[in-house]
Symmetry: C2
Subunit: 254 residues, 2 copies
């Protein structure tokens, strides 16, 4: 029953979408979280599909593209006022989503070569860093959300594996100039937590002392006058992000 | 006579463009050159228009967006295999080009609220660095090309002044990680030439010794075993870009 309702909803959107959505453009969101010493990415699966995919969305005709990306993210995670980072536009004519869109139309009995969805889509890639614990994972309804470690990502819909690779490549290159880890960690954290994130992104171990020196020289992070003690563990000095510096840097680059 | 032909060509493109071009997306190119100690940007003006603008283009339905950007650049400058750098997608619904497009339609007697050009366009911004002397400036035909110093840019068509500002802001932020100056200078150059480019982009003077130390640490530039002597001037040590390192860096970030 649920599947039939969902199918009707999809058909309705496909039939009437041409009047509502900007044609030929979509939003793909690469949402990173950090948990259990692993960098994770949030993936989405619709019940009608057998493949996981990035959270995606279309842009309404009267909607700014940045606003569309925020709307998609809010719908999927419930989170508001998230900093989204535009990292690349994907516009190859051999993007496999063209074939996949035609397959969906065929499956739904809407075979039509001139259908608005059966064309090359240019996709604007956005990425976001979210604190893992704040995202409400939904498992009910017609779609599912799940975190995957970046080493455990299955073959995804269309060219979404490549889009994640590109996001990682851009972040790795920009790691010296953007406040990596901001929004991935709680307000106060021991520096080892942040180093773990850098190591997960770069895929290699970093020297503890060098890391502290370099991070403090960026002005994105400051050392607090606070020590965290947990029984059985070494006491750890706590650190915190300098919010204004981080926001300023993100605004400049994106 | 020439103006009438041009008008006919434009009308033909407006009437038949819907079948040829991807709808609602365009390419804007911010092309930087360096001359007379000044960072310059290449602007374009059509005879029918009273405003200068960035070199722009549409994307054909069967064309990759990166290929479209290269085609636009080649058409305007005659230059092939230029490295184009995708820096931002502009997709606000209040972009002034909507009004300007409607004005053009009105002017040409094609008033039509539903015309394919009378909608919000999302624009993919590309930038390129070109060696000033290699660009062939065209002043004949139905359009004109001219270099403008970045402090001398007039009020441009649509939001193009803002697009140049954004390109500069992204470059200023990324100045530590991209090989600025690569393609702006001849094969061998005294380091003062490169420092001039950095100073023009950053809008401030840089310390000569610090600059040399920092530049050599990036691995993008190497010192040559060559001295350039010109009568009446101090002899200058020559430098050169390390091509592979520069290409690699540009590929990673864009």
């Amino acid at each position: 029953m649920e599947l039939i309702m969902e199918k009707e909803k999809i058909i309705d959107r496909l039939m009437n979408g041409e009047a509502v959505y900007q044609q030929g453009i979509s939003i793909d969101c690469v949402i990173f979280g950090f948990h259990d010493r692993m960098l994770k990415v949030l993936l989405n699966k619709f019940n009608v599909s057998d493949k996981w995919m990035l959270p995606v969305g279309l842009i309404m005709k009267d909607e700014d593209i940045d606003a569309a990306a925020c709307r998609v993210l809010k719908k999927k995670t419930g989170l508001d006022s998230i900093y989204l980072y535009q990292f690349h536009a994907f516009g190859s004519t051999v993007r496999p989503n063209l074939k996949e869109h035609r397959d969906i139309l065929l499956k739904l009995g809407l075979r039509d070569e001139n259908h608005w969805i059966a064309q090359r889509f240019v996709s604007i890639g956005y990425c976001a860093f979210l604190e893992y614990s704040k995202v409400r994972i939904r498992t009910d309804g017609d779609e599912e959300l799940r975190w995957f470690g970046i080493d455990e990502i299955p073959p995804l819909y269309s060219d979404h594996n490549g889009i994640i690779e590109k996001a990682l490549s851009v972040i790795r290159t920009q790691i010296r100039i953007i406040p990596i880890g901001y929004k991935l960690l709680p307000e106060k954290f021991p520096l080892s937590e942040l180093r773990n994130i850098y190591e997960a992104i770069l895929g290699r171990e970093l020297d503890r002392r060098n890391f502290q020196r370099k991070i403090l020289s960026t002005e994105y992070v400051r050392k607090l006058d606070e020590i965290y003690r947990k029984p059985g563990q070494k006491p750890a000095v706590m650190f915190s992000f300098v919010r204004e510096k981080c926001e300023e840097a993100l605004k400049k680059i994106t």
